[in-house]
Symmetry: C2
Subunit: 402 residues, 2 copies
């Protein structure tokens, strides 16, 4: 990070309006080059211009996902990617294992039920994560499981799966498909599709990719591809074989794509390739650690079980007497920093920070300072000096020149 | 139209690249204010900022659609809107009538089959359109029809339904739902939801609305709303009750919205309201007529049956000896005008012009001139003077100051 980056951030908005610091678990801060890419001239989606753009984007995506088959891009939100990874492969009566330890795992389970399949839930408390041995037992008991759905990072609580690689080996032993709902940590945490034996990864544009929301991305294995062609789903919009065939034939999408977002994605992929995925994972890891260490040093209690703490979604319990609504709204209006609250039963009890996308030293230190100052103003004796020191110790491990 | 508008068009691209004239049946030319709106600062979709934006957009949409229920906006392409209007209401074994006279009617029919319902097709030749009496007979024979799907403007051939109002009266007599797949002519041709007894209108952002592609819009009647809540579909992404409930509760979307496109849609709706829908319909009607009369005056043969000619998609047969690929690619590279070709069996036999969105005198005359000149260059003796005169006679009926 350098002063130019800060300048880019502060002047980010092309509309002339003040761009707040978006420290949400998506959408994230979007680099100005990516915002500008959206204003590229409108082109027809049945033209060579669009085919060239698609070829570039898919080629770059294939490198980033480390997959053998072409990635599929849907003009839709992440929920559509997850739904596609269910409707394309599960049929009535099928068994599917799913990790459930928060809002998004529950949704996947509902979607599995929605196609008439039976979800076998690996449940953990909110803030905790199911274990690899939970998966082992479930597969032993249900060797006829068709697919295993792992919400790799439970955005609602800030708990992540730290046994994804092992799940790939295990699942493929049973001949089941491994689907990673990696909406909020693909691109931040390592998960090479081919090497980890993953059959399908779902993510979307507004998380670690740091593009605006509106595109859903799906990367699949050859085994998964063969299956979805063999038993093709009946509807159109989330029908992955239609997307794959159309791309193979024309390097286009079967349905009209959100053009400005494709231009943005192309630029965002460039920035990811420039940084390098390994450096990117390190950056996310140490920005996350910087937040955790800083909040503990500040005197706050982290939410969730230490071993499964997410690198990208930082959950922190409110100290007594701090009201969520007051805290977050003054943080936004007085410091220009936007963070998220808790979900469901945990609304009001914790705040969540999205530490992903282009997050770097600038974002981390600004956010910690704003939170520390705001807590002090509201009567909590936050130790800001300790917090910033603790953050800095981690941040110096970042290698990316972002 | 004035010189300022031309200037705005020519300088449209914010990226500095040359903006071609996009005379496609979507995406269309996008006004610069709408392009710029996409660069508004990123905001959280669970914040009051987004709720305010949503409230504004939905309120404006309700005025434009002339409906009683709030419009629903999906982050998706138009195909998703049509699919939602099928999956939310049709169940296995249901009967649904559908107009089929081109690619898009065939798709709707397939999607109806996709949910296990039975499509009853009202078929017409390519370039023609089924008649109101076809619908009458089908309803008489199948009084238990659950819904009637009318592709109000068959984009692939340029044929439109000119009995939509009558279809509303007739369909409601049978207690069936009337769904208008109005992707390529809502906002260009009059179809007030309430007054025409329509139960559902599907359209999307990149057609007559003249915003970039990526949003699908659905307007529904109270009767349709009651039904989709009574018998709610199982999946999430196209589940309209989820969108309606979330908007009622929080003025937000259940799944992450494509924020930049919402800012763009808000601005595009402003421009529609400024113009006024009646003037907008007149503008589309006379721009369409200008094209038709000009091409006939030029010595070309129009494609399709006169009585059902679309106001927004102008189909013209190629004269002997003019090759589609040469013609359209030189039109694009030498004149900067992008038009579409024919679909399926009609590929190579006709060209199609999208005359919708912000189309005005400038677009019509520039396109006619470019086409006439290009035809002459390729050996067809186009009478350009006659063509421009014929166009002008129609264009003077336009009242909009665009």
């Amino acid at each position: 990070m350098n002063s130019f980056t800060i300048l880019k951030m502060l002047n980010h908005s092309k509309s002339g309006k003040f761009q707040k610091l978006i420290m949400l678990p998506g959408p994230t801060n979007v680099p100005i080059e990516v915002v500008e890419a959206m204003t590229s001239p409108i082109i027809g989606h049945r033209t060579n211009d669009f085919s060239s753009l698609m070829d570039k984007v898919v080629h770059k995506g294939n490198i980033l996902f480390e997959c053998d088959e072409n990635i599929v891009i849907l003009t839709a939100s992440g929920t559509a990617a997850v739904e596609a990874s269910i409707t394309n492969i599960l049929r009535k009566g099928d068994k599917a294992i799913v990790t459930v330890c928060g809002e998004f795992g529950s949704r996947v389970s509902e979607q599995i039920s929605g196609v008439g399949a039976s979800p076998i839930q690996l449940v953990a408390d909110y803030g905790d994560y199911p274990s690899l041995s939970d998966l082992e037992r479930a597969l032993e008991t249900n060797p006829d499981t068709k697919a295993v759905y792992i919400v790799t990072n439970e955005t609602s609580s800030g708990a992540m799966c730290n046994w994804l690689k092992e799940a790939g080996d295990l699942t493929s032993k049973y001949g089941a498909f491994l689907v990673a709902d990696a909406i909020s940590n693909w691109g931040a945490d390592k998960m090479p599709l081919r090497d980890y034996n993953i059959d399908c990864i779902d993510t979307c544009s507004q998380k670690s990719i740091a593009a605006p929301p509106g595109l859903a991305l799906i990367s699949i294995s050859t085994k998964y591809k063969d299956q979805i062609f063999k038993d093709q789903q009946k509807l159109h919009f989330l029908n992955l074989p239609r997307y794959i065939e159309f791309f193979d034939k024309k390097s286009q999408t079967p349905f009209t794509p959100a053009l400005p977002l494709y231009f943005a994605l192309d630029k965002a992929f460039d920035l990811m390739l420039d940084e390098g995925m390994d450096d990117r994972y390190v950056r996310h890891e140490y920005c996350g650690k910087a937040f955790y260490d800083a909040f503990e040093a500040m005197g706050l209690k982290l939410f969730g079980v230490q071993e499964v703490r997410s690198n990208t979604v930082i959950s922190v319990a409110y100290p007594d007497g701090i009201k969520d609504k007051d805290f977050r709204s003054s943080l936004e209006t007085q410091y220009g920093v936007v963070i998220a609250g808790g979900f469901g039963d945990y609304a009001g009890k914790l705040f969540r920070i999205g530490s992903l996308g282009i997050v770097n030293q600038y974002h981390v230190l600004t956010t910690i300072s704003a939170i520390g100052n705001n807590l002090r103003r509201l009567g909590f004796n936050a130790n800001l000096d300790f917090a910033l020191d603790a953050a800095m110790k981690n941040l110096k491990n970042i290698r990316s020149k972002l």
